[in-house]
């Protein structure tokens, strides 16, 4: 079996994989990092979004083998110990979730959104940028509010 090595949440990791192994399978099944979810498995829903070298990527649509040597960050790597990341805190404060299944992907997408679009995000930008993340519970209103607040909080911290 081929072996793949990468950095996940700051730690060097490696594992034997089938060439077919998707990044999300490597994260969940090999590394047991089950915070990254598989919703649709067809690159529509965004529940599996992680950061690869800083870019938001749907981990259900990338081969683990392709990401040899990559720097990957998952939802587990966002908080600083017991202290939530400002975007996680904003989702909690604004009740930006109901069942929570889409939340890891929503938060990873949001953090990268702030990186590309800045700390002052208007509603239109947020809704457009969420095109690749589906939520079947909330109707998005509180998610949009949470992202705007989280972006501001990230700015205040920067």
């Amino acid at each position: 079996m081929p072996k793949v090595s990468m950095t996940v949440n700051g730690a060097a990791v490696s594992g034997d994989v089938d060439s077919r192994t998707l990044l999300v399978q490597f994260l969940r099944e090999t590394l047991r990092l089950t915070g990254t979810h598989v919703g649709c498995d067809t690159s529509q829903c965004g529940c599996c979004v992680v950061h690869v070298n800083g870019d938001a990527v749907k981990s259900c649509t990338a081969l683990a083998m392709s990401l040899e040597g990559a720097d990957v960050r998952t939802i587990e790597g966002l908080a600083n110990g017991d202290q939530l990341h400002p975007m996680q805190e904003a989702f909690r404060e604004n009740h930006g979730l109901q069942c929570g299944f889409c939340t890891p992907g929503m938060i990873m997408t949001s953090v990268e959104m702030v990186k590309r679009k800045g700390f002052n995000l208007d509603e239109k930008t947020i809704r457009e940028e969420l095109e690749g993340n589906l939520c079947r519970c909330t109707g998005y209103h509180n998610i949009v509010k949470a992202i705007a607040a989280g972006a501001q909080a990230m700015g205040a911290k920067a």
Partner: protein, 265 residues
Amino acid sequence: MYAFTYHKAGSVAEAASLAAKHDDGKLLAGGMTLLPTMKQRLAQPSDIIDMGKLDDLRGIEVKDGVVAIKAMTRHVAVATSAEVMKALPALAELAAGIGDPAVRNRGTIGGSVANNDPAADYPAACLALGATIHTNKRAVKADDFFIGLFETALEQGEIITSISFPVPDKANYQKFRNPASRYAIVGVFVAKKGGDVRVAVTGAGDGGVFRQKDFEAALAKDFSAKAIENIKQAEKGLNSDIHADAEYRAHLIGVMARRAVAAAK
């Protein structure tokens, strides 16, 4: 996904020789179409030749009235390139409208053009702008490149290295999205360069992207939305499916073309 043998190409030459050697192999660029297709077991390549490490196939150059984009350049890079936004804003806007942010972070222009999905956006830009597709073997005009559904002039072992777009006087792309999949039900790219106007339609044709020459002739005489108001797009040769029948697509082609002409800059 069916099993395959994985190869990581270290150079274009290596990728080409691997692709030539494995008849049932597939080149992997960003994987935004190929991987989902394989996951659904609609494709069963014996070998995957991953071009992800070919960094010399990434980059954008705007020079002498030509926007040249290397094949492995990701959609996000085209969408956010200050140079492309200035020289050919219609192309930057098109790239910004492909898929979603995570898809644009992985998907590449070369992958899109090589795949020639009948609902893909880039083929319309190539055809309307009179682009040239450069491969490891030759240069092919867009008019000769797109052959049919998922079919191009590319031969086994031939790899797109870059695509060059002559900068037009004015251009615009308008897309009517499927409300669920967000792919183009109809997309129309209009470009004017001197007295020459080209109109390319994606999403609608049963043979993939095509030029609307009646619109082109009318717009060459009078570049205004009014000039094509009364030209009827034939329904023959258009897709009819659960999302939109041929009559509706024909109607949308006119509407999208008029919007593109009005918005061209």
